[in-house]
């Protein structure tokens, strides 16, 4: 059995006195798409932010590529290959689409930057059409594509995406999920996404159920029952 690429164990994160994550064990294998499901307030965003370094860890370890990174700065984790696409505030609003992408490739060497941005345009042709437009004038769906595009451009090995489907029309959700699958195949990236949308079952290899800061289940796709997942979203699993 191969070592997981990213491993979180006994992770505790608190906001003041409120504990958001209570001793979480979580892992991701190379080139997997892993979903984190759970109702609002379950700690999905907190888990992703703790991995990316946006929130401090109280106790526990985060291991990535053989390094214990739980006390590393955001930039150092980014350099090692982790990139978080937050749920909100995931674009630079007053910059053009093109400029947003240019900023995202800042850590890559000059030779590969253009290729990375070209690949984003290939995946999301609409961004090419809108490349000169200011980012905050894009539609919600296009802004989401830009945010994911910035994640791709960043060339990070692991993309952590916080609830990409929120605010998207059902058709767009399907399209976005298909695109994520294509990105995984094209780039050999590993993708972790938190989701409340049941369509996550169509793309995730594995699904973690998170509720009230604790892991409720960790199942491969084939073992998952849609009803179990639906119950989790309603917060009624005991």
């Amino acid at each position: 059995m191969n070592q997981p690429l990213l491993k979180v164990y006994k992770l505790i994160v608190c906001y003041g006195r409120v504990s958001a994550l209570k001793c979480i064990d979580f892992y991701v294998n190379d080139n997997e798409i892993v979903g984190i499901a759970g109702p609002n307030g379950a700690g999905k965003s907190t888990l992703l932010e703790a991995i990316a370094g946006s929130v401090p860890v109280r106790e526990g370890h985060i291991e990535f590529l053989g390094h214990h990174i739980q006390n590393w700065s955001v930039i150092k984790r980014r350099q090692l290959g982790l990139m978080l696409i937050p749920q909100e505030g995931n674009i630079f609003p007053m910059m053009s689409v093109k400029r947003n992408l240019e900023v995202s490739v800042i850590l890559s060497d000059r030779g590969s930057r253009e290729k990375l941005i070209d690949y984003v345009y290939q995946i999301f042709p609409i961004l090419w059409d809108r490349r000169k437009q200011t980012a905050n004038t894009l539609s919600g769906g296009q802004q989401k594509m830009l945010a994911v595009g910035m994640g791709i451009a960043s060339n990070a090995r692991v993309m952590l995406i916080d609830e990409p489907s929120i605010g998207l029309a059902p058709k767009l959700v399907t399209k976005l999920f298909d695109t994520l699958q294509k990105i995984r195949e094209d780039t050999k990236k590993t993708i972790v996404l938190s989701e409340q949308n049941i369509k996550i079952l169509n793309i995730a290899d594995r699904l973690f159920g998170l509720e009230a800061g604790e892991i409720r289940f960790d199942e491969k796709k084939e073992n998952l029952n849609r009803d179990v997942v639906k119950d989790l979203y309603l917060g009624s699993i005991s």
Partner: protein
Amino acid sequence: MLLNGIITGLIMGGILSLPVLGVAVIYGITGIPNFAIGVIGVFGGFITWYFLSISIGFAIIIGVVACFIVGYVVQRILLTPISEKGGDSTLFFIITVSLGFVFEGVIRAIFPRPNISLELPRLGTITFAGFSVEGFKIIALVFALGTLAVIRIMEERTEAGKSWQATSQNLKLAKLVGINTTQVFSIASGIGCALACVGAIFWGSLYNLELSSGWDLGFIGFIVAVVGGIGNIWGGMISALIMGMVISFSGYLLGGEWQSVILYFIVILVLIIAPKGILGSERSL
């Protein structure tokens, strides 16, 4: 008189615009109001005065570089760590005002005189429509406009400029995409303090530099920046020019004693009508 008023206004506006730009760059990028920048600028002015006998160019460079370093270090070891811990504006007000008093004390302790005047070369006279003005007086304005242009070009062309823009628009995301925002903050603070120093040097060449001049420079800088839309360098520049005109014309029409009454009355009026300033206080470069 009209032309006379306009030229005096441009001179005033030019000098005002330097600390205003300093405030705007620092606040625009870091989101931290630093009320000490005027005093730090005057500190640089005193350093320049001290080295004046060696060579004017050298003295100015020493003063400006010293201010850049002070701004950089203060941001790096004091202000950025506090902001990471979630310090609010009130805390920054107290801390940076205290810092200003520290630097005022340092100036008093180091330099033998509390009151200096900086002799700058006159740089000839410029005659325009029968009115002549000494060249050095409009250099402040030229310098401010040049600085604006340089910042703008850097934003368009350089990676550093893009990083500043990104940091100012979305700090959290800037970190996530891999920008060293701590360094961006330090450089912004250094540039802001350096601009305040250039402002202090021009101020000291037209008037006198006193220990307390830093507070005048800093607070006027802040007020004018807020009127323009704090953190917005274009708004700050426009606001500085308007305020320069206000000072100039109120002086001509009503006499010098009414200048500050008119100036601050207009400040209050503008802020009642447009609380976010002339161009809005979107933190942006």
